[in-house]
């Protein structure tokens, strides 16, 4: 994994509360230190990246230090601007008395389930496609595992759907061509109430626009999927604790990631109890932890693993993050 920072996209994922954001932050600092201009993106709707760095970030790219920029995607704002665009183009097509109707209708669409997720995915795909020109490396601090997996599956779903839609469009176009061959030029027909009149004329431009929109979407998600599954470009890092539930969830995540051909670069076992922590209670916890650690070593033998110990204080601010980053980088052997 010595070339981790030479990748273009790193995903940091895992169960909620295992330390994804701190890990992502620490990696970001290290990548920046290694001279890679890095964009650190938080996709969790409950953002904490700004809290970890101890500075407000928000939905704008915010400089966090030399070579390092932070961004907390706000899916709600994304969805709002998307819906606003649709509203505008719809209003240009209907009578003004329908405006209230359109507002109401699209307001519902904005709040329908899946909208936030779709908006988030859209933004991520955009970032993956065009951040290349401005940043060497993108680090995504993802929302808890399940969410990430859905984000990975959506491009495929979307592609299947647009392909289907394009299929219908295509069939319709072919039938239209056939119709032309049967002499649609005799526009006289319309007067007799025959089907296939000249009313379809503006359709050619409309079909073109529909096709354009569908193809643009499909291209975007195809590209995102290509990037996601290219192991020279993308690396997925799983963060977990030596506890039962994070181990179980990591197993599931790993299975799904391999199903989607996403290259998993390694695993970060976070918050291990320090060897010198004393007391019977901690001794007992450590005994249990050792069992889980053995299980991790066995289950994830194929993955490179990094072990991090629990710190006496919360990870907070650039200094502690940097220390954490150095520990990760040292164990990974990244330059």
């Amino acid at each position: 994994m010595d070339r981790l920072f030479e990748r273009r996209i790193i995903f940091v994922g895992g169960k909620g509360g295992v330390g994804k954001t701190t890990t992502a932050g620490a990696l970001g600092l290290m990548a920046a230190k290694a001279g890679r201009t890095t964009l650190l993106v938080s996709t969790d709707p409950a953002h904490s990246l700004g809290d970890v760095f101890d500075m407000p970030i928000g939905n704008e790219e915010t400089p966090l230090g030399p070579n390092l920029t932070g961004l907390e995607i706000d899916p709600e704002a994304e969805a709002e601007s998307h819906v606003a665009t649709v509203k505008m183009s719809m209003k240009s097509l209907v009578a003004p008395k329908m405006y209230a109707e359109i507002d109401r209708q699209l307001e519902l669409a904005r709040h329908s389930p899946g909208t936030m997720e779709a908006a988030l995915l859209e933004r991520m795909a955009d970032l993956m496609a065009d951040a290349k020109s401005r940043f060497d490396l993108l680090i995504f601090d993802t929302a808890p595992s399940g969410h990430t997996i859905r984000l990975l599956a959506l491009p495929e779903l979307m592609a299947a759907w647009t392909d289907g839609m394009l299929g219908y469009q295509d069939r319709s176009r072919k039938l239209g061509e056939l119709l032309d061959m049967f002499g649609k030029q005799h526009s006289k027909e319309d007067e007799f109430g025959m089907i296939g009149g000249s009313k379809d004329e503006p359709d050619t431009s409309r079909d073109g626009r529909i096709k354009d929109i569908l193809l643009t979407r499909r291209r975007k998600f195809h590209r995102a999927r290509e990037l996601l599954t290219d192991k020279t470009i993308t690396a997925f890092l799983l963060v977990l604790n030596a506890e039962r539930l994070p181990i179980l969830e990591s197993k599931k995540t790993l299975d799904l990631l391999s199903k989607f051909d996403v290259p998993v670069a390694g695993m970060i076992v976070n918050r291990l109890l320090p060897r010198d922590a004393d007391g019977d209670f901690l001794k007992e916890r450590r005994r249990q932890e050792d069992e889980y650690r053995a299980e991790i070593d066995q289950t994830f033998a194929k993955l490179q693993r990094v072990y991090l110990h629990l710190l006496p204080h919360d990870v907070h601010g650039v200094d502690t993050l940097r220390k954490l980053g150095e520990a990760i980088v040292e164990q990974l052997g990244v330059q």
Partner: protein, 90 residues
């Protein structure tokens, strides 16, 4: 009868013969095309009819383009106004 008149008559008969052959095909094909277009449009508006659309967010921007076709569809189906509560085009 003058030659131009005969020519005109011939063209007329030619046209009729041509149409007698073509018209049935034309209406069949036109109907197939229209059904295809209706299906496409209904898929765009599927969410509103209670059919879950996994990518509704992305197809939202197709709705303005389909507005006209939607109106044409519901009038053709004998409904004076839009049958969808949440979506009125007229």
């Amino acid at each position: 009868m003058k030659w131009p008149g005969i020519k005109k008559k011939l063209r007329w008969w030619g046209y009729l013969a041509n149409e007698a052959y073509n018209a049935p095909f034309r209406s069949t094909v036109a109907r197939a095309k229209r059904e295809q277009d209706d299906l496409f449009m209904l898929l765009i508006f599927s969410e509103m009819m209670g059919v879950p659309n996994p990518v509704a967010y992305y197809t939202l921007e197709l709705q303005p383009i389909m507005l006209e076709r939607f109106h044409e569809w519901h009038t053709r189906m004998g409904m004076e106004h839009s049958p969808l509560d949440g979506f009125r085009c007229c």
